[in-house]
């Protein structure tokens, strides 16, 4: 195409074109929403209109004292094991990227073992520790295993050790996401290893780590239900205990379902909030116009 042609095109007025943009067709959208609503109602009726189900029992047991106790145990299980997993997983994560080959192998072995075995097996192993070691301690300081290793504690330990392997991988990839020269700059300023991690690496790694850590916590909330296999006293255990007496099994499972929907939704909301906050911070750092001079 010759240069004159291009100029012709460039100055050609576009006043033939209409100004207004057509609205998006709303009919299709509306039909979609309606279909979803109808399907949901039909699905719920399948349950609620079923003569074998007593929906009022769900409401009645939702705030039952033992259910609330179970709910509290579930929250504590998740909370304690998350704290433990954060601390322990960070240590393992740093082992994985250590310059020391022994530490690296240790970290790798740990992650491999705990990620390659089902969590429910790990819960059972900790819950039945007394079979292997009836007493714990050294010399005169011993206790009967079953006195200290309550189902609750066994649950916390099993969940903590398992989640730590996930946290370790998140920490590892977070730390590795910080470009190497940042470390060199810190070295050149004569910062120590710890100062470098604390002030340079971790603040940058955390931005990458927050979303997956939130995901781990939400998964953990749901995984707490596995302690039912050692009668861990969590929400699901309590629901099952009640059901074993009154035989309203489905109603009580639905009670547990409702509570899980509520607490995981809150956790999701928290995760989104953290992500949003960290993204906003990133923009404050990276955005902006360059004025030279």
């Amino acid at each position: 195409m010759s240069a004159t042609h291009i100029e012709d095109l460039a100055i050609k007025p576009i006043r033939d074109l209409p100004d207004e943009h057509a609205r998006k067709p709303w009919l299709g959208q509306a039909v979609g929403w309606l279909a979803l609503a109808l399907f949901t109602v039909w699905f719920l009726r399948l349950f609620l209109a079923n003569p074998k189900l007593k929906p009022e029992l769900i409401w009645k047991y939702l705030f039952n004292e033992r259910i609330l106790e179970g709910l509290w145990s579930t929250l504590l299980l998740a909370f304690y094991s998350m704290i433990g997993a954060l601390i322990f997983g960070t240590v393992i994560g740093f082992c994985r990227i250590s310059a020391n080959p022994v530490l690296r192998a240790t970290g790798w072995l740990y992650v491999w073992v705990f990620r390659s075995t089902p969590l429910v097996v790990q819960v059972l192993l900790w819950g039945n520790l007394a079979l292997l070691m009836p007493v714990l301690g050294i010399g005169p300081f011993t206790v009967k295993t079953n006195d200290v290793m309550t189902p609750f504690l066994a649950g916390v330990i099993a969940l903590m050790l398992h989640e730590a392997s996930y946290v370790a991988e998140i920490v590892r990839s977070g730390v590795q996401s910080v470009p190497r020269p940042q470390r060199e700059a810190a070295d050149a300023l004569a910062l120590s290893w710890w100062e470098t991690q604390r002030y340079i690496i971790m603040p940058q790694a955390l931005k990458v780590m927050i979303p997956p850590l939130g995901g781990v916590f939400v998964l953990l909330l749901k995984s707490t239900s596995l302690v039912i296999v050692i009668s861990g006293g969590d929400l699901l255990t309590e629901a099952q205990n009640i059901a074993s007496l009154n035989l309203y099994t489905i109603e009580l499972l639905l009670v547990a379902t409702v509570w899980f929907l509520i607490i995981t939704s809150i956790a999701y909301a928290g995760q989104h909030y953290l992500e949003w906050r960290f993204n906003r911070q990133n923009h404050a750092h990276a955005g902006g116009v360059n004025e030279h001079g």
């Binding site: 020269p181 700059a185 070295d187 050149a188 910062l191 002030y199 940058q204 404050a284 750092h285 004025e291």
Partner: protein, 251 residues
């Protein structure tokens, strides 16, 4: 008095020998332009001076003091990490890609190291930071984040940051190579002023006009050895070795 001395310095990465016997000394206040093809060992040499690397054999001395090693019972032993860090404080380093800490403001970037090293309290550090920022003409940027600055501004901040610990030597590793051409000048201006103030400087650079104008001396490295060493006009205009001729013809 020599500020930097290298004698018989060799360095290998595994089987790859990168520096093959470096012999030189740099007097206090000298500005050295370090040139040479990529991979000739320039960055490695800078890292030896501030103890980020230790030589496989030979000695590196700064202000007459052995870098990273100490003599004990007739043998050389590596220093502890804390001892090496203490030595390193008096050597400033500036990188090709600035390496400012993106999550900290300009002022925080400057104040972090001196405060952690307890060389200054917070208000002293802040005052010194403001003085240095005005020296690099960035007084108004103390509260900005690095991502909000142009490359030239970031590199000037990086220079100010390196000056916070009051170094006796400044090392520059291709400080203008990552900059758009129109931003190179402002960084070179800052470096020129620093040179005029009597700072000892080793500058790895491809800016031969800057070297010609500012440097007292040019070292041309080739495959891990010093191939040419002399006054800028001698080395740049009348190189003796074929390698230097070829390199300068390309540059």
């Amino acid at each position: 008095m020599s500020t930097v001395e290298l004698s018989g310095v060799r360095l290998s990465y595994g089987a790859l020998e990168v520096l093959k016997g470096i012999e030189t000394s740099i007097p206090s206040g000298q500005i050295v332009g370090l040139i040479g093809a990529s991979g000739s060992g320039k960055s490695t040499l800078l890292r030896l001076v501030n103890g980020l690397l230790l030589p496989s054999s030979g000695h590196v001395l700064v202000d007459g003091e052995l870098v990273g090693r100490k003599a004990k019972n007739g043998k050389l032993h590596p220093m502890t990490l804390a001892e090496i860090r203490r030595q390193r404080r008096k050597i400033g380093m500036v990188f090709q890609h600035f390496e400012l800490f993106p999550h900290m403001t300009v002022e925080e970037n400057l104040c972090l190291a001196p405060i952690l090293h307890k060389e200054m309290d917070k208000s002293e550090a802040r005052q010194r930071a403001m003085r240095l920022l005005s020296r690099v003409a960035l007084s108004d940027k103390s509260r900005s984040y690095p991502g909000q600055l142009s490359g030239g501004q970031q590199q000037r901040v990086a220079i100010a940051r390196a000056l916070m610990l009051q170094p006796s030597i400044m090392l520059f590793d291709e400080p203008t190579s990552a900059l758009d051409p129109e931003l190179v000048g402002e960084v070179l201006t800052v470096m020129r002023e620093l040179a005029n103030d009597g700072m000892t400087m080793i500058v790895v650079t491809h800016e031969l006009s800057f070297v010609r104008e500012v440097a007292d001396r040019v070292i041309f490295m080739d495959k891990g050895v010093i191939a040419e060493d002399g006054a800028p006009k001698d080395v740049l205009d009348n190189p003796k070795t074929e390698r230097a001729k070829a390199f300068l013809a390309r540059a």
